[in-house]
Amino acid sequence: MSRSTTFSSEESPSDESHVLNHSHADIVLRSRDLHEFKVPKVYIIDSSPVLAELIRSHSQPPNTAIPTNSVTLLPVVSLTDSGAILISLLSFIIPVSPNLPSTTEECLELLWTAQKYEMDIVLTRIRDHVARENPPMIREENAFYVYSLAQQYGLRREANQAARLTLKVRMSIGDLEAAGKLDILSGALLHELWRYHQRVREYLAGDFTAFMTLGAGARINFRCIKLSSSDVPTWLNDYINSIAVNPSLFNLSEFHMALTRHAVPTACHLSRTCQSCAVMSCNTIDTFWKALSDVVQHSIENVSLNSGCPCYLI
């Protein structure tokens, strides 16, 4: 017995009814919670080889008893997905207004469902819509959670995006425990994330070496009172090296803190005031920061999660 379908989707009622009861429907998709969607199978077959095969298997041999809807007598294909996910998925397949689910969890489930049915084009379409979300679906505050879910769903792209955002958090057991992140991640997923952070740090260390000797780092201020062997201010050298150890230190606040510690006199070190760094122009800092950001970005983009991570739990 099918249920009447009500969804908290944002799509217009006309679009919803179009998806649920298409005028040219020749097949019924039934969700695990017994919602039925009457759709033209050509859309489904074109979108998904997996569902195409499923529909074909329901159509052969021609004379055997095929489950049909008692009212419309259309063949029924039962799926393991929920009605809420299916209606959203169908909105990306049938020419109606696409309807993204409202929660991050459902969005990831939708992506997983599209991936499961090998709907490559639909998957791209969903990801395009997700990318236009404001606020973004994957943010700094939910990065660990999304990483965990995406890994469980086997969504590599989302897992990588989330993993990149976790770089803004100091990766230590103590900090993660204090932030409640150990409640989100299993040891296996955390281990994979830690390995990812390690690889990013290694990449950063390599890129920073070149940056400090050849890039903007080498040109920032030759008049500093304390230069390293490569003629870069020592405080800057130390700051950049600290990013290679802990990428979460890559932000302007930390940079200015490092500059302040060096340039502003303290009661203990009045004689070590560096007038040259203290009056460094905003332009110089902006130029330097942009160059450093490019290097960091380059390093991060070159590293991704291991493809062999055995984290597909679903």
Binding site: S148, Q152, M171, S172, I173, G174, E177, L182, D183, L185, S186, G187, A188, L190, H191, E192, W194, P310, L313
Partner: protein, 342 residues
């Protein structure tokens, strides 16, 4: 009793990552597996098939006596072509006309298990990981007597993981297998090592469910217990520290300053982070002696020298006892939520 060679070797496919990890470590640390001679019991009526396809011909009655799980399994009406107690055994077949029961354990674990069921020389590995795998197998198949025997033997041999990696691995494995006793022992041993990504290394990958979170919680409780104990030792009005009130070189009303400094330093370090290795109760005696010696050498304190001669030994014992009590008092039940899947 005859021993027959009946072995075929194929790549075992572990059912769980953790099990695969454990077994691969075992095969790395031992060359025994390919040479195992599986006991072949006369008049056997069932074949146990290890994950690496070694066959063990045994008796249903023996298995039934050792395990209610097998008792139930063999008391069920026999299917025509297979034995099965759950999905794990769903793919069972016949071997030489006998029903075959596939196991996810490798031949070495299964061999050790079988030797504990029959009146033949039992084989309990000397390697902690392997012994733990045997405990896990006996736990899984509800073989309480076997499990007790293995645990008793491990205790008598003082078999325990020694390195940081081995300890964290043992914790992860025991946690995943629901071996509460071993999990708690291993958790206690981890306190002597930093709890960092570096110290846990690849062993972290074997931590299933909330094992890592639970270990962190347990460690924090232990840390809090130690801090509380050390704070009580700072009280110059209460034993055992009251004997140190009166040092002439201590200007404020408290215990001797060198001891105060020693205890305060530990409190500060412990409060700073729980991820460093925690204070070992047994190390306090040496630290006490070093601090006292330094104090006496610097200021020639006769008060502290006398107190040490009269009561130093008893004080150290009391401190160590109190610190151990603080750790023992940490309720593991509230720290460990047990095996669960995320």
């Amino acid at each position: 009793m005859s021993l027959l060679f009946d072995m075929t070797h194929s790549q075992a496919e572990a059912d769980l990552l953790i099990e695969g990890e454990m077994q691969s470590r075992q095969s790395r640390s031992s060359d025994l597996t390919p040479n195992i001679l599986p006991p072949q019991m006369q008049n056997a009526d069932v074949v146990l098939v290890s994950s690496d396809d070694v066959h063990f011909r045994v008796h249903k009655s023996i298995l039934s006596m050792s395990s209610p799980l097998f008792q139930d399994m063999f008391s069920l009406p026999q299917s025509t072509d297979s034995e099965s107690i759950d999905n794990e055994f769903a793919d069972s077949e016949f071997v030489d006309g006998l029903p075959a029961v596939p196991f996810s354990e490798n031949a070495e674990v299964l061999h050790n298990l079988v030797t504990l069921l029959y009146p033949i020389p039992s084989v309990i590995p000397g390697d902690y990981d392997k012994a733990l795998a045997l405990v896990a197998a006996s736990h899984k198949y509800d073989m309480t007597t076997v499990q007790s025997s293995v645990r008793a033997e491990m205790k008598s041999r003082d078999l325990r993981p020694l390195t940081s990696a081995a300890i964290f691995r043992a914790y992860g494995f025991a946690s995943a297998k629901g071996l509460t006793q071993e999990m708690e022992s291993a958790a206690r041993l981890t306190l002597d090592f930093p709890m960092t990504f570096e110290s846990m290394g690849d062993e972290l990958a074997t931590f299933g469910g909330w094992a890592l979170r639970d270990l962190a919680r347990y460690r924090k409780r232990c840390r809090d217990g130690l801090v509380s104990c050390l704070e009580s030792l700072l009280n110059h009005r209460l034993p055992p520290s009251d004997i140190w009130a009166g040092c002439h070189n201590t200007t404020f009303a408290t215990i001797a300053w060198w001891l105060h400094t020693l205890l305060s330093d530990h409190i500060r370090k412990l409060r700073g982070t729980f991820t460093h290795s925690l204070l070992k109760p047994s190390s306090m005696r040496a630290e006490y002696l070093a601090a006292l010696q330094s104090h006496v050498n610097q200021v020639g304190c006769t008060f502290c020298s006398k107190v040490h001669i009269m009561h130093g030994e008893a004080f150290c014992e009391e401190v160590e006892k109190n610190l151990l009590k603080a750790l023992d008092g940490v309720s593991t039940a509230t720290s460990f939520s047990g095996p669960e899947e995320i």
